[in-house]
């Protein structure tokens, strides 16, 4: 399953924590028509570089589905930024 939501949390030194939920499914919805339009070009480029396009698509899809539960947090003193893909 590809991730649908990401969470970005920003905490300033003296301010409150600001939490932003990013609806990734909207990004995917926008990318689907673009990917459909670009797929013949990608296909031709893959063939030109002797890369199996189906293996390429499969690997890219696997990469997308594996993004879930990726987490990155940086804190400096009382300030911090964190990013979490649900």
């Amino acid at each position: 399953m590809i991730p649908f939501v990401a969470m970005v949390s920003v905490r300033g030194r003296e301010s409150r924590t600001f939490r932003l939920w990013v609806p990734l499914f909207l990004v995917w919805l926008l990318l689907i028509p673009l990917a459909a339009l670009l797929s013949p070009v990608i296909f031709i480029v893959c063939l030109a570089f002797r890369v199996n396009p189906f293996r390429g698509f499969a690997a890219a899809w696997q990469l997308l589905t594996a993004l879930s539960h990726t987490e990155c947090a940086v804190e400096h003193g009382s300030a911090g930024v964190s990013f979490y893909i649900l």
Binding site: F49, R50, V51, N52, R55, G56, A58, A59, A60, Q62, L63, T65, A66, L67, S68, H69, T70, E71, C72, A73, V74, E75, H76, G77, S78, G80
Partner: protein
């Protein structure tokens, strides 16, 4: 006879503990030994780690802004997918990357790295644990890389 068992029997003979207490102590001594499988049998099934974790802790550098902490968690599945994608890099690009690497004096031949080998490499990361402690006068940095 083990030393512990001898001590329990000694205490029993001296009347410091009752027979029931001695029995309880002896059975408590025997329990861990029975619960632990013989070492080297390879029967312990280690759970497969799901994430590669990188933690960096840096203490206050003197600016009194507090410590800096970095915590990154990457799913192992993402590493595997990345490795598969890297396996699709065309040969021309690999040769160019090889040339650039060798100019830097690093003796790695990227064309010899196959997708199967990389998969094996990711599998071996399961047992990876790297601890780096750097201490100097101004700062103290601790880096931990491990799988969980």
């Amino acid at each position: 006879m083990s030393e512990n068992r001898r001590q329990i029997l000694q205490m029993l003979s001296e009347g410091k503990i009752s027979a029931d207490e001695a029995e309880r102590l002896i059975s408590a001594l025997e329990e861990p030994a029975a619960a632990t499988p013989p070492s080297g049998s390879g029967s312990e099934a280690k759970p497969r780690p799901k994430y590669l974790r990188v933690q960096v802790d840096s203490e206050d550098d003197g600016a009194h802004e507090g410590p800096t902490k970095v915590n990154v968690r990457v799913p192992m599945q993402l590493l595997r997918a990345g490795v598969k994608l890297a396996g699709l890099i065309p040969a021309q690009a690999l040769h160019r990357a090889n040339d650039a690497i060798q100019k830097e004096g690093i003796g790695i031949d990227l064309t010899q790295i196959k997708a199967e080998n990389l998969e094996e490499l990711v599998e071996q990361l399961n047992d990876l644990s790297v601890d780096i402690d750097q201490k100097d006068r101004e700062s103290k940095v601790r880096v931990k890389v491990f799988c969980e």
